[in-house]
Symmetry: C2
Subunit: 455 residues, 2 copies
Amino acid sequence: MQLSFSNKARRTQEQPINALIVAALANPKLINLAAGLVDFDTLPVAEVKQAADAILSDPRRGRAALQYETTQGLAELRAEALKHLEKLEGKAGLSMGLTADDFVITTGSQQALYLIGDVLIDPGDIVITSNPSYFVYTGTLTSFGANVLAVRGDENGMDVGALEQLLARLDSEGRLGRVKMVYCTSYFDNPTGITLGADRREPMVRLVERFSKKHRIVILEDAAYRELRYDGEELSSIKSFDPNNAHTIIACTFSKPFAPGIKTGYTAMPKDLLHAVLQQKGNHDFGSASLSQHIALEALATGLYAKQVQKLKANYRKKRDVMLAALDRHMPKEPGISWTKPGGGLYVWLTLPGRVDTRGAGPMFAECVERGVLYVPGDHAYQPDENGTVPTNHLRLCFGSVPTELIEPGIERLAGVVSELLGSRNDAEGEKMHGRDAHATQGAPVAQAPGAVVI
Amino acid sequence: MQLSFSNKARRTQEQPINALIVAALANPKLINLAAGLVDFDTLPVAEVKQAADAILSDPRRGRAALQYETTQGLAELRAEALKHLEKLEGKAGLSMGLTADDFVITTGSQQALYLIGDVLIDPGDIVITSNPSYFVYTGTLTSFGANVLAVRGDENGMDVGALEQLLARLDSEGRLGRVKMVYCTSYFDNPTGITLGADRREPMVRLVERFSKKHRIVILEDAAYRELRYDGEELSSIKSFDPNNAHTIIACTFSKPFAPGIKTGYTAMPKDLLHAVLQQKGNHDFGSASLSQHIALEALATGLYAKQVQKLKANYRKKRDVMLAALDRHMPKEPGISWTKPGGGLYVWLTLPGRVDTRGAGPMFAECVERGVLYVPGDHAYQPDENGTVPTNHLRLCFGSVPTELIEPGIERLAGVVSELLGSRNDAEGEKMHGRDAHATQGAPVAQAPGAVVI
């Protein structure tokens, strides 16, 4: 006899990333450029030991760390999170309408993303994102029944003009009442590594204010990779342009800039949204692990955190450089092949000629697995266009967890497969594309068509 | 401009327990017999320090503990959890259809309860529970839109005959297709302290098998308090009577028998349900905190866990005895006053004469807060009967987190308020009850009416 699952369960797709993590953990011989894990060698084992020792050597703190914590999270950690955000923005919390009471501590920032979807989305509601975008979260949104509409992006992220056009069109169609939020990874996006342009941040806030005609539309800013910056100057967040804490949420995590194993994130949001989120979180778990929160607090307060961020930046900068140099050295010099040069984060986004099919069920992926290199097929990260098609000639490369010395051999294997695929089909160059990848990029970082995206 | 919340958010009620935890953490002078926290003085600070040291002194283990873990959870911990369950049941996992792959590690067992609701419940679906039952979870179920139907219980927990009658009635009404599960805290229930009788466990499994006509109905067995047993022999779980792992889920936690601060639980369930749960958990957080999982594993594998359980049992047994003795000594000797004598867990359930209103908005609660003693009003734990009424003359007392030496003073304050309320209204004794508490108990542990419950 079968179980009878909920509609939500039936809407929920297998998350590609989990299978990839399982593969990564199971087969250490593969050169895994797919798994979005962090670097193993720089995990702050000594630092967390020092923090745990300090907490657990003090009976009062030790007991607090082993007792239940509130659903909202450790007050001292929320206060430190606010101070930390103030430092990153270079402005006072109050100028963004924020106090420590506007923060919630979650089981990684993913839980915050989930909870915000949970309290805002009914089936048929609209969430707007960029194309491509973070596929774990667009999958989550789809499980809530959201209609995820993607606007084009370019080398500076989501095109705010395209966002405005879409909102205006939805308004004229009488669908503005279904628009709940705009989702944007504003720093070193997963999967592209692209950062939202400095001049697009404030206009995005003003835009959702202007279109908040039926109800308040919010921007969910995913800042998971913010502190992993290897080039250039820190940018103010989208959140920093919302002085009344009314239209924006910023989701931050300790996973990427410190350690995923403590699974702790912090998110600031409007008070009415926070209230609803805390009610749901009460149902989910009534509070994330207290011990992890105390470790995060100790690391922030003592400077262990800041030192670890510097260490990670130096290490990841080098890994990024190795990956970019290897791509330069090994990828065929051919029109239609390009890749992003991210100023931070963990990802490089590779674009191949439109006739190359990078999908998991395709020949390229199978050949790569055969030769011992794994990537994330790019089609997962796209919302379909009006014809239901997605580009199938992109892939995500992660330099996060792969050991530095394996990056070049991995890229070499990948480039070998690409060369052979291109060589053997040279007759089809350029002109003939498959129907399903009509919007696929030809290597130039400009948009091809509305609704499709090229990076 | 207002936000537009989801239907689920709008269905979600404030969790009474969270406000109580906040109150408990904020005002240490109150004698808090309400908060369901665990005992502070016996929190295993030294033990967790020892476990954390062992993990973080070994670079290989330390890195694993600080990296992402899989959504399903640390394989070694799932294997230890299986061994632990086998020991508790006195039978092999395979005789229950279980391997370590049938377990998921969650952020406390509450997350497992949540996820199971998430994948099974659509608005209007039916979940059957006992009356009273764990109010955090019935609130969660209500937020999913579940129709929570409660059957009567007695001093041995849910009445399986009443469950059968309800299932038969739903079948005859053509509503069996909406019945998704039966929820039962089988050991030292929250809020009553009552344990499901040994002779009711197997019949409950056979019953849901028999009524699985439209689809497979499952029993969600909440075993959070199982190991906190102070009297009598260990009982086999409901799960142990399900040889094919088809109809039962057992949710277990490290929070109560070890430490809530690591917020780690483990749950075994049928494979098809597990698949759906893992998909949702991928969306929620793609895996609970790895460090906590490694600490739980170390504690289980080295015997630190077993020693801690013994220590907690000795301490809680004493606290329970102090509370029961204080109730004997201070509560008025009057018909209509009774309380449970739990053989384990953290709770005593107090029944007062029907004319006493224990609700949070009533005079008794206010007077208790005034005198410095806090309890959980019992009405939160009831599902309304056909007339929409719930008993309002019960309350939950927790001997978990209150210091031993404050238990008697707390009970004395409480009994003082009860005495005054009864003395000042002695003219109304027995006969006149408020309409809304027509099903209120008069102290005897027998059912008054179908659909209502007396403990």
